[in-house]
């Protein structure tokens, strides 16, 4: 595990160079949250009103958390890098190092997003407290559980993106698949909670990546219950196993068809 910790650490050290760039990207985040705040306040008109059991305050916090996860853990570059590595044959240079490629990608990406995650987390909380005054139904005792769910969600998201990136072994470019995956999360998880969708879709969404990567952490933040916690962690555990096996399978199959240019 020490080697993965070092990969993780090396990436954090590298990314500390980009703190300013991350802070610049806050502008988008702030604008979006401000728009959502106004839209939801307009929709709710009466602050005591509930829509699908969400108050206006919960609704805006939900978006603050999902947008924070969306911005801080974006896997577009990860997918692009894996895809480029596969196409150029650079992925092969990881093969003669004594570590697992999947472990390397995971430690690498987690190191990369830790700095942005902490910055976005802090910015999101400050903004939410200023705009909304407080966090509904959240007690300090829940925070460790929510953090575990967030960590699981980030790991699952990274592995699912890795699976998407590894598709490049079979097709030239995996970016259309990443586009589909990211839009699935955006439309069905980031903008609205799952409860806002028709019943027949909810059944599907409760076992989709949306549930384990975006909805789960945000739902627990705005409406914590041990029943929800247990359900979310159970589905996440299932996803962790499936995503890991998927990564391993894709990688093992993929490298067999690897063509690295000679010199």
């Amino acid at each position: 595990m020490r080697k993965y910790y070092y990969i993780f650490k090396a990436n954090i050290m590298s990314n500390l160079q980009y703190i300013f760039n991350i802070m610049i990207s806050f502008i988008n985040y702030f604008i979006l949250i401000f728009i959502y705040l106004n839209v939801w306040q307009y929709i709710y008109s009466d602050p005591s009103k509930l829509i699908y059991h969400y108050s206006v305050q919960q609704m805006v916090w939900y978006v603050i958390i999902t947008e924070m996860l969306w911005f801080a853990t974006s896997g577009r570059i990860l997918c692009q890098n894996i895809s480029n590595d596969v196409r150029s044959g650079n992925i092969a240079y990881n093969m003669n190092k004594p570590y697992s490629y999947i472990g390397y990608v995971l430690a690498n990406h987690l190191g990369e997003i830790l700095v942005s995650g902490l910055l976005y987390g802090t910015a999101g909380l400050i903004m939410g407290l200023i705009l909304l005054g407080g966090i509904p139904t959240l007690s300090l005792a829940y925070i460790p559980f929510i953090l575990i769910v967030i960590i699981f969600s980030v790991i699952i998201n990274t592995m699912l993106i890795t699976v998407v990136g590894l598709i490049s072994f079979w097709i030239e470019d995996s970016s259309p698949f990443y586009w589909l995956y990211s839009k699935l999360l955006l439309v069905f998880g980031v903008f609205f909670p799952i409860e806002f969708f028709p019943k027949y879709l909810q059944g599907f969404l409760q076992y989709s990546p949306v549930y384990v990567t975006i909805y789960g952490p945000a739902k627990l933040f705005v409406d914590f219950s041990y029943v929800n916690l247990f359900k979310i962690i159970s589905v996440q555990t299932l996803y962790l196993v499936i995503a890991y096996l998927g990564c391993q399978y894709m990688y093992e199959r993929g490298v067999r068809k690897l063509n690295v240019n000679g010199g």
Partner: protein, 327 residues
């Protein structure tokens, strides 16, 4: 002496997509994709002894890097057997990784934003070296490779020569028994090239590291290796000692001169005029028979504006070896 590398009847083929010309060709390639088989390495066999520095050379596309990649477990052979330090790179890649080091001149492995020291600690951890052992190894290698001056400067701020030195140190941190160097001096200026060569030699002497070197640069090979394998078109063209190669093939130098005025010059024993365009002359000197000084005298230094002395290109030497083998 024990063998560090054993290769027997090794072959590797690549399938490359082919596409017709223009839009029609592109559409046809979608409907009926066609592939061409390229034989990158064909039935090669050789052995390398422990502690040997061997040059594995050839022109572009000869199969050098493909062979290195098969020896390090990056590519799987289609046919043949490979054993590196007793490991099969295909099935025991991870175990082998702890015993070998690789430097691919065209592929950086260092983290650009980290200092060489942090990079070396990182590679130490990757190879499961305890922290204290990694630190003492870094001190030892920094001394040998003269890195102390810039060991705490981010890699992105280093010169290419300093970076290559760090790349080599990074691949030596775990005391590999075999080091694969794929074009380590590519893109470096002559002074830095010479430094790197000295260091490679020193490393071989001090740590008895077996070195498998591919290079385009005849200078690298001449100065470092006692044995040379030349590969072309995926096949071994020559496997001989450096001494023999030097005597038979690297004995010739090209002397190109730009003159102030036209001079009359004819072939002499050991000196052949291969180009005479009035003011521009090109001679080939067989250094087994005549010295470079003789050629310069023949050209008349007083009438000379510029002169360039170089080795015969590797491609030409290979062509010559082929012709000799054929006759």
């Amino acid at each position: 002496m024990a063998k560090a590398i054993k290769v027997k009847n090794l072959s590797k083929e690549f399938k490359v997509k082919i596409k017709g010309k223009g839009l029609k060709g592109s559409l046809k390639a979608i409907i009926k994709p066609q592939v061409k088989v390229i034989k990158a390495v064909q039935n090669i066999s050789f052995e390398v002894e422990e502690g040997e520095i061997i040059a594995f050379i050839g022109p572009n596309g000869a199969g050098k890097s493909t062979t290195i990649k098969m020896l390090t477990g990056i590519l799987f052979p289609n046919q043949g057997q490979v054993s590196v330090l007793g490991f099969n790179p295909k099935t025991e890649r991870q175990k082998l990784a702890y015993q070998i080091g690789t430097v691919f001149g065209q592929k950086e492995q260092l983290w650009m934003h980290l200092t060489p020291y942090d990079n070396f600690m990182f590679f130490g951890a990757i190879y499961d070296l305890p922290e204290k052992e990694a630190e003492s190894r870094i001190n030892e290698l920094s001394e040998v490779f003269g890195l102390n001056e810039f060991i705490n400067t981010p890699v992105r701020n280093l010169s290419l020569g300093q970076r290559i030195r760090c790349e080599i140190v990074a691949s030596l941190i775990h005391k590999p028994k075999v080091l694969f160097l794929d074009e380590p001096t590519i893109g470096l200026d002559p002074v830095v090239k010479e430094n790197i060569r000295v260091l490679i030699k020193k490393m071989n002497k001090e740590f008895n590291t077996t070195i498998f070197l591919t290079s385009h640069d005849v200078g690298d090979i001449e100065k470092l290796c006692k044995r040379v394998i030349i590969i072309d078109g995926g096949q071994i063209v020559l496997d001989d000692t450096m001494e023999n190669l030097k005597y038979h093939y690297l004995n010739r130098k090209l002397v190109e001169a730009k003159m102030k005025e036209k001079i009359d010059i004819n072939d002499e024993p050991g000196i052949t005029v291969i180009k005479d365009k009035g003011y521009n002359l090109k001679l080939e000197v067989d250094t087994n028979e005549r010295s470079i000084a003789d050629a310069i005298k023949l050209l008349d230094p007083d009438k000379m504006i510029d002169i360039n002395i170089s080795n015969v290109p590797l491609e030409e030497i290979i062509r010559e070896i082929y012709q000799k083998e054929g006759s």
